[in-house]
Amino acid sequence: MREALEGSQAIARAVSLCKPDVVAAYPITPQTHIVENISKLVAEGDLHTEFVSVESEFSAASVVLGAAAAGARAYTATASQGVLLMAEVLFNIAGMRIPLVMTVANRAVSAPLSIWNDHGDSMAVRDSGWIQLHAADNQEAVDTTIQAFRITQETELPVMVCMDGFILTHTLEVIDLPEQSVIDDFLPAFEFNRRLDPADPKSLGTLVDPGYFAEVRHSHHAAMQKALSVIKDTDSAWETATGRACGGLLTVEGDPGAAVGIVAMGSTVGTLRAGMAHTPEAGPAKLIKLRAFRPFPTQALIEATQGLDHLIVIDRAISPGLGGILGTEIAAILADVPNAPKIHNHALGLGGRDIPETIYADLIEAIKDPDAPLIFDADMAKLAPEDR
């Protein structure tokens, strides 16, 4: 059914359609409306779940870990400082291969304190072993959340659905929420084979000596790679069920013959799309919307960049002292590819800096400028000369 919903409200409704047994979350801007909306659904009797209102994000993550280990479908949501406070548990959840879903309402990480959007939070736990999917708009965020519950079950890998804080979470849009029966057909009942069960007692999270650790990591990595096809297939199944897809691992749009490509994740894609449409004089580009950041769709990216002379990679976070994170990763992937495009890596929109449509033309123009700054929209005039 089509309804005008705020992004957070839509996520709460989508989660509710997936009938989680246990939800645990701790409020933080810009995720707060998600928790509040879920609490309201519970209070009104529209969602029957054990809602555990914890005393911290550390406990939120620990509660969903315990719940899923005990055989429950579990969900949590957080952002920014919350992601970092959870960090130790997030690695633990993934290392134990516990299936559950978390929304990250992407927000910058303090200091300086900022409640606004960038990807510094989810990037900080990039190596935790979670699947990380980025939504470009709210319909994608809703659809990806529902798909995430199926992906996590099938892969026994936890799934993080990343959506840009405020830009998506607080935007009112018309959203199509599928009927309950569609979800019930799409999403099998939650089953976790290794669940804690007195009739078949298992020990989870045991100490592993150097004789086994490498093998555990190997199988985790292998599972992540296998998850690439699960993510794709789940999106196809979703398309069959609803007539709508989210773009599998990545999608390519724009001019197929263009010599310039732009890679972006999240809501930036929409801004670039608009810029491309409204400033045709800037020249054509192939727009690559990356949905799966972990596992990384290496092969799909190589194919998508074939024939390009230039590839602009947009990061919404940086690794200080090195550069853009996505940019560095893509450079590594294309290093051995013959005739690979030249990479131009820029960070944009840090700490909520608005990204205007004109950025499209500016980025294409900057291809000619070998000295274009890493943080593309930083205003040097605001800095002391020695910091420029």
Binding site: S59, S62, G205
Partner: protein, 352 residues
């Protein structure tokens, strides 16, 4: 309440028949001949005389088999589960050092959501309970989860090599509170955790000791019967960290109770409802002199040693006064082999 039919089924599957102990035979070791549920098996890698291993075995005997355990990082976790082995015969999970109460909260929420009533237990050492896991524990108690939390209190971080915790007694030496020219061991007091737990007004909280197994097991059974958060701290000597002979674990634990330094009390909704009276109170030196961690306090002629001994004696006297431990009269239900400490208090006659 636990499901009795399910309990019987699980006992049948994993336990020993609940009959009287039978004679060991060639096929049955003495241990196998015991009519107990063995949730924690022998053969694990604890040090000889480990109080924590003994305490956990006793807790599991009384709590199992329809339980699941969330165990914090620490000795108990490490010595029971070196992959691919495990000493646990109940579903058991270890996540991190500071979150066993929160993981258990999730497990309990899952049981509620699925309409099951398997009881959830959370285990932690004193480090995982008094210190780093304290916030998660407070949250678990406040949210009123149906969980029995057991703290195995060996009064230091043993797994990482005997560092002080907020449960380490005043003046005890650890590797991070050594005695030296300028220091007489730990400078701070043992945290009064039970009072903080009591302030949560949970249905039941108690202290117990490995020296009094029947008392410990009664407390576990009582907690198991309560639908809501319950807490048990078990004094569990560590021969390695306390530096006493492995054979002295029980004696050391008993003397801690007899001198008043580790009072055995029960609290319901925050009020003291039962204590174990001490019929013959001992001086703290009887306890201190058994352990290397207090060796610097028993040096003759050192006025600082005398001062710290007096300090510890004052702490013990305070406990004895506050809880009214100096008791007399007959033991209502004596503990096997123990002649000097009796049990009583206002709820002594309560069903076991």
């Amino acid at each position: 309440m636990q499901d009795q039919a399910r309990l019987a089924e699980l006992r049948q599957k994993f336990g020993r028949e609940p009959a009287a102990p039978s004679e060991p035979t060639a096929e049955r070791t003495p241990r196998e001949a015991q009519p107990r549920f063995r949730g924690l098996e022998s053969g694990h890698r604890a040090c000889q005389g480990c109080g924590e291993a003994l305490a956990a075995r006793l807790v599991m005997e009384s709590a199992g088999p329809d339980v699941m355990v969330a165990n914090a990082t620490g000795c108990l976790e490490v010595f029971t589960t070196p992959w691919p082995q495990s000493a646990w015969r109940v579903p058991w999970i270890h996540s991190l050092f500071e979150n066993s109460a929160a993981v258990a909260s999730g497990m309990e929420a899952a049981m509620k959501a699925k309409g099951q009533n398997t009881k959830v237990l959370a285990f932690g050492g004193d480090g995982g309970t008094y210190d780093i896991g304290f916030q998660a524990l407070s949250g678990m108690l406040e949210r009123y989860h149906n969980i029995l939390y057991v703290c195995y209190d060996n009064e230091a971080y043993m797994n990482t090599g005997i560092q002080r915790s907020s449960s380490t007694p005043h003046a005890a030496t650890t590797t991070t509170s050594p005695a030296g020219k300028e220091r007489m061991g730990k400078r701070h007091l043992k945290k009064d955790l039970l009072s903080i737990i009591a302030a949560h007004h949970i249905p039941y909280a108690a202290s117990a000791s490995v020296a009094y197994p029947q008392d410990l097991q009664r407390k576990v059974r009582y907690a198991m019967g309560i639908d809501g958060p319950t807490f048990l701290v078990v004094h569990s000597p560590c021969p390695l960290g306390w530096r006493h002979a492995s054979a002295l674990t029980i004696e050391v634990a008993r003397k801690a109770v007899e001198c008043g330094l580790f009072p055995l009390v029960e609290l319901e909704r925050g009020a003291v409802t039962n204590i174990m009276p001490i019929r013959q109170v001992r001086p703290v030196t009887d306890y201190l002199k058994l352990q290397g961690r207090f060796a610097h306090l028993t040096r003759d002629g050192d006025p600082r040693a005398q001062e710290e001994r007096d300090h510890l004696q004052a702490l013990a006297d305070y406990n004895i006064n506050v809880f009214g431990l100096a008791g007399d009269g007959d033991d209502p239900v004596d503990t096997s082999g123990i002649t000097t400490v009796g049990r009583g208090g206002p709820l002594a006659g309560r069903p076991q």
